[in-house]
Symmetry: C2
Subunit: 230 residues, 2 copies
């Protein structure tokens, strides 16, 4: 028999990683989904994911997936939860380790499997295969939580951006609206923005300043967090 040649004394679940790939189109938060070409759930949309190889860590596996779908390497990735309900896959027992990635949507040219991949606004996703709706909700929730305490988010913006774009991103992730002036004040106060003395014309009305983020300060805040309450 060529089949079933990997044998163990006790039953082992299969282990996969699933990637929630977030992007931002300047207006709304989006997620990259792929259309399944095989059963089960053939034709349904799902999160990109794949089986863990025996010589790679889960993060390596997730990065491999990310590269296959988007061509990107070195993006921000974070493990957020592992899903292990015995019924989550109808074929066999599958435990999946969930990662989310934050990428600049405009840098995605389309990876190997790109034919079946598509961006969906986060609030307009179709019903997903397996328990991927649940996984997606959990990832979104985690992203929101992180945003309160860490300067996550720049990973989703182009290198140079306007204050308005940054604010739109925060508003899109958190689903709330900020006062322009107060938002700017807070960002300047955190000192994570560098005024690069360039401008663009995002609208025909008036030019807007461009910023980069201050990588040093950014990493520092990422490490110690925004708000050391207490």
């Amino acid at each position: 028999m060529e089949e079933n040649k990997y044998c163990y004394k006790y039953p082992h679940p299969a282990v996969t990683t699933d990637c929630v790939i977030f992007g931002f189109n300047g207006e709304r938060l989006q997620v990259l989904l792929i259309e399944r070409g095989i059963e089960p759930y053939k034709g349904k949309w799902a999160l990109p994911g794949g089986f863990l190889k025996m010589d790679e860590s889960a993060e390596e596996c997730a990065r491999r997936e990310l590269k296959e779908e988007t061509g990107l390497e070195g993006a921000y990735m974070e493990q957020f939860h592992t899903f292990s309900s015995p019924e989550r896959d109808p074929r066999e027992r599958v435990v999946t380790i969930g990662y989310f990635a934050l990428i600049r949507q405009q840098e995605v040219k389309g990876g190997d499997d790109a034919a079946a991949a598509k961006w969906f606004p986060l609030d307009e996703t179709p019903a997903l295969a397996f328990d991927h709706d649940f996984i997606l909700r959990k990832a979104t929730q985690r992203l929101r939580e992180q945003l309160h305490f860490q300067p996550i988010g720049f990973e989703l913006l182009p290198e140079k951006f306007t204050l308005k774009e940054l604010q739109s991103l925060y508003e899109a992730i958190l689903g709330i609206h900020f006062d322009r002036r107060n938002f700017a004040k807070k960002m300047f106060h955190l000192e994570i923005l560098t005024d690069i003395e360039e401008t663009v014309w995002p609208t025909p009305k008036r030019e807007a300043k461009l910023y980069k983020f201050n990588a040093k300060k950014y990493e520092e805040l990422k490490f110690k967090g925004f708000k050391l309450e207490f």
Copy 2:
């Protein structure tokens, strides 16, 4: 052959859960470790853990472990990270899902495996088996993070407690010192304490008021978090 009767087309890692069980002795944060009776790492201290059964979720598995070690059910448990380095177990590829539990140390009578279990102050743990030092650090870090944003911690205290005990707990977890008056003010302001009009004599010097926590407010804060920055 009786051995190796579970066979798969592709290699599968083994999956375990490991439990970081935190307790508080009124003074210091402690962690429950067990002494390994078998190779590898025989005689070394390790986190309690075990293999995932095919019909249980990871959380069920972790709760089963907790019960075996402490006799406790229904404790606060939270998944914090999954560890998947290919070299983390010398026997075979093992992916472990890490949970931490917060329990009232005084309620532990000692479970089935209690003979080999022992509490260690968090800053006096011996070198642990496998990558359990790393796992423990990660759990501690997560506990600290959580404490800033959620009213975690009451799970570690007896039902009735003094303000000083609560403060000591926070100080033990975060490793910093608070001003008594400001700490009390903050707690009262959060409205999670109920004055139960009882007193104790924690020291021979003077009596102290006892409090319970306000479960309703507690759950509410747990849900929405302390600090909705922005």
